[in-house]
């Protein structure tokens, strides 16, 4: 198969289709996923292709959805559930935190839960309140969960395939503002596995570290910086848990300067984690403090103001400008 141009929604849809075709234990359920095909059409056509037993709508109750997924996984299935929007996964928080994350450990590995929780997440779509939360920190902080955030359509396909095949629960964070972005995807090409970060752009002067919807912004910033004479590397974290210290540390050590970019409010966030570990692991190499360009510590803004909140090329470049260049 050669590369085709598809949207991220289509790439994810194809991943679900391929997984369902290969493994009859894969089931998809949630709110509006069946006849409607999901509010973002990510599950479009699955019920038609695989029947109502393989892709079905549930009553409107996220805790029930997560809990039912846990039970089905206990009894031989690999559920892939959709939480309609980031903030609407919060009713499932207890199920995710107290059970999904802990069952394997609780049972000494006897009961593993191969569940994927798909979360259309983050902002940039002009959504009203509760539709644009970047909720990754809640999951990343919870031991037992694998947390993945693809930035490219090829990763969306490849990482989801791996997530579905994983014996463990995976929180799969889909940058919803890229659902309708088209990119070349070679479905036959293996992407690096969960647990591996990827250097999307090499660079010698400083390293931008990002994931999910912030990767394209970081790349744009690096593009812009290049025209201003600064050569920025961009690392796509991809897998928040497990975290690829090696790739990130190597990239930062090589440049001696780093900026972490993420949409979520910065306080006690994944960006904080990256900042803290990079600061610790790269200490002898750092020419400047690791800076964070994140969402502000505010509830996600209303549509007309969201552009002020989101990490922008300018804000990233401003942060880069502050990286002690005089010391160089």
């Amino acid at each position: 198969m050669t590369a085709t141009k598809v949207t991220m929604a289509q790439a994810i849809n194809t991943a679900l289709r391929d997984a369902m075709t290969e493994d009859p234990s894969v089931v998809v359920f949630g709110e509006d996923v069946a006849p409607l095909g999901g509010v973002f059409r990510v599950t479009d056509g699955l019920t038609g292709a695989f029947g109502e037993q393989r892709c079905f709508d549930t009553p409107l109750a996220e805790s029930g959805i997560a809990g039912m997924a846990i039970g089905m996984a206990m009894n031989g299935f690999r559920p892939v559930v959709e939480m309609q929007f980031d903030a609407f996964a919060y009713p499932a928080f207890e199920q995710i935190t107290s059970h999904l994350a802990k069952m394997g450990n609780r049972t000494r590995g006897r009961v593993r839960l191969p569940v994927v929780v798909r979360v259309p997440y983050a902002g940039g779509i002009g959504g009203v309140e509760h539709h644009c939360d970047s909720s990754e920190a809640y999951y990343a902080h919870t031991p037992g969960l694998t947390v993945v955030a693809p930035a490219t359509n090829e990763d969306a396909y490849g990482l989801l395939r791996e997530a579905i095949a994983s014996p463990d629960p995976v929180i799969f964070l889909e940058p919803k503002r890229h659902y309708f972005t088209r990119e070349e995807v070679d479905f036959a090409r293996a992407v690096p596995p969960i647990g591996r970060a990827v250097v999307r752009r090499p660079g010698r002067d400083a390293t931008l570290i990002a994931y999910g919807p912030s990767v394209p912004v970081a790349l744009a910033a690096a593009g812009q910086a290049a025209t201003e004479g600064r050569d920025l590397a961009v690392v796509d974290v991809r897998s928040i848990v497990p975290f690829d210290d090696e790739t990130v540390t190597r990239a930062v050590a090589a440049t001696g300067r780093a900026v972490v970019v993420a949409e979520a409010p910065g306080f006690a966030s994944v960006a904080a984690e990256i900042g803290a570990r990079v600061s610790e692991q790269c200490f002898p190499y750092l020419e400047a403090p690791v800076r964070r360009v994140t969402g502000f510590d505010i509830p996600y803004p209303p549509p007309k103001l969201e552009h002020h909140h989101l990490p922008s090329v300018n804000r990233i470049l401003d942060a880069v400008d502050e990286l002690n260049w005089d010391a160089a």
Binding site: E31, D32, L36, V39, D57, F296, D297, I298, P302, H308
Partner: protein, 347 residues
């Protein structure tokens, strides 16, 4: 309980009921006016979305009787807890329609002052407003006030854990809440049959020990009678009531939704014959021309009010997060301010 309370048949004739009296004609005429304005609001909001002046609009077209009655039965000190779909109810309660629509225009999360009219912010996370309603009501009880809280939700929302917890708290604390479930048959694409297999949603009241009534949700006369009685019971220490209104969502879930994917047009057509406006108009012997000018005035006000360009001051992003901004927020506000000033400077 499976027979819905009805006072007016779809053809406008009277459906006699032993328990509930027909509201008087003056009252009904006033409510007819509200229905006309509500319908016009729904239509105009839809048009504004098409023109890009509103980001999104979940229409209550077909449900205007519920919207109007829910607000009309309340007394000044009472509270209304609306959802995203209940713009018309908030307006009937007295909130300025332009202010209500500020949320859907993307200006701010809530465009009106909830304390001014005792209308809570329209709730998006489903069923989450119901425990708040119980809290407001229980607070009123503790203060010795006879405040009643009207809490709205949809059929889909009844499946959420918060619906259960709220109904049960209300029952245990005998809180003066009227829960009005607008059963419009769909939760986005998911039909009622996938939401519940109980004979009715009103049946859920039994498991909480809460009196429950199923009412024709397109019959404003019946709604006024049933909700009015529930408000009186709540105000006089009789505790909560669950009311299920049998109605239908004529439009798609929102403009962003494609309802043809999950329901037949024939079903919609069938429900159009039960239109809440038509039946009341027929009963009252009106022509349909009444209140047209007022409705057009309202529409014009919406067009003007929502055409204004511009956005709120970005400084507001930081102003209300805490009563007193934290040092961190102040620093972040300064950063944004500096950026905005830099942008304004010539390069």
């Amino acid at each position: 309980m499976t027979e819905a309370v009805r006072l007016l048949n779809p053809d406008g004739t009277v459906h006699p009921d032993a328990r509930y009296a027909m509201p008087d004609r003056a009252e009904l005429r006033a409510r007819y006016r509200s229905l006309v304005l509500g319908r016009r609001l729904n239509e105009q909001a839809g048009a504004l979305v098409r023109q890009g002046k509103l980001a999104v609009y979940p229409s209550s077209h077909g449900q205007e009787a519920c919207q109007v009655a829910a607000a009309a039965v309340l007394r000044p000190g009472d509270w209304l807890f609306p959802t995203y779909r209940d713009t018309v109810a908030a307006v009937e309660r007295g909130v300025d329609p332009v202010e209500v629509l500020m949320m859907l225009r993307g200006d701010w999360h809530c465009g009106y002052d909830p304390t001014a009219h005792r209308v809570a912010p329209q709730s998006t996370p489903l069923a989450t407003q119901l425990p708040h309603a119980v809290g407001v009501a229980h607070a009123a009880t503790l203060k010795g006030e006879d405040t009643v809280v009207m809490a709205l939700c949809g059929d889909g929302a009844t499946s959420e854990g918060d619906f259960h917890e709220a109904l049960n708290f209300a029952a245990v604390f005998r809180a003066p809440v009227v829960f009005l479930v607008q059963n419009n048959k769909y939760a986005i694409s998911v039909p009622l049959a996938r939401q519940s297999v109980a004979p009715s949603l009103a049946d859920k009241g039994i498991g909480y020990g809460v009196p429950a009534v199923l009412v024709d949700g397109n019959d404003v006369a019946a709604l006024l009678a049933v909700l009015g009685e529930a408000v009186t019971r709540a105000a006089t220490g009789g505790g909560p009531t669950l009311v299920e209104a049998d109605t239908y969502r004529i439009e798609a879930h929102t403009n962003a939704d494609d309802a043809t994917r999950y329901r037949d047009e024939s079903e919609v057509e069938e429900w159009r014959t039960r239109d809440p406006l038509t039946r009341l108009r027929t009963y009252l012997g009106l022509t349909g021309e009444e209140f047209r000018d007022e409705a057009e005035e309202l529409a014009a006000r919406l067009r003007t009010g929502l055409s204004a360009e511009g956005a709120p001051d970005p400084a507001e992003l930081f102003a209300h997060v805490h009563a007193t901004p934290t040092p961190q927020l102040t620093a972040q506000a300064d950063l944004l301010q500096a950026e905005l000033e830099a942008e304004e400077e010539p390069a």
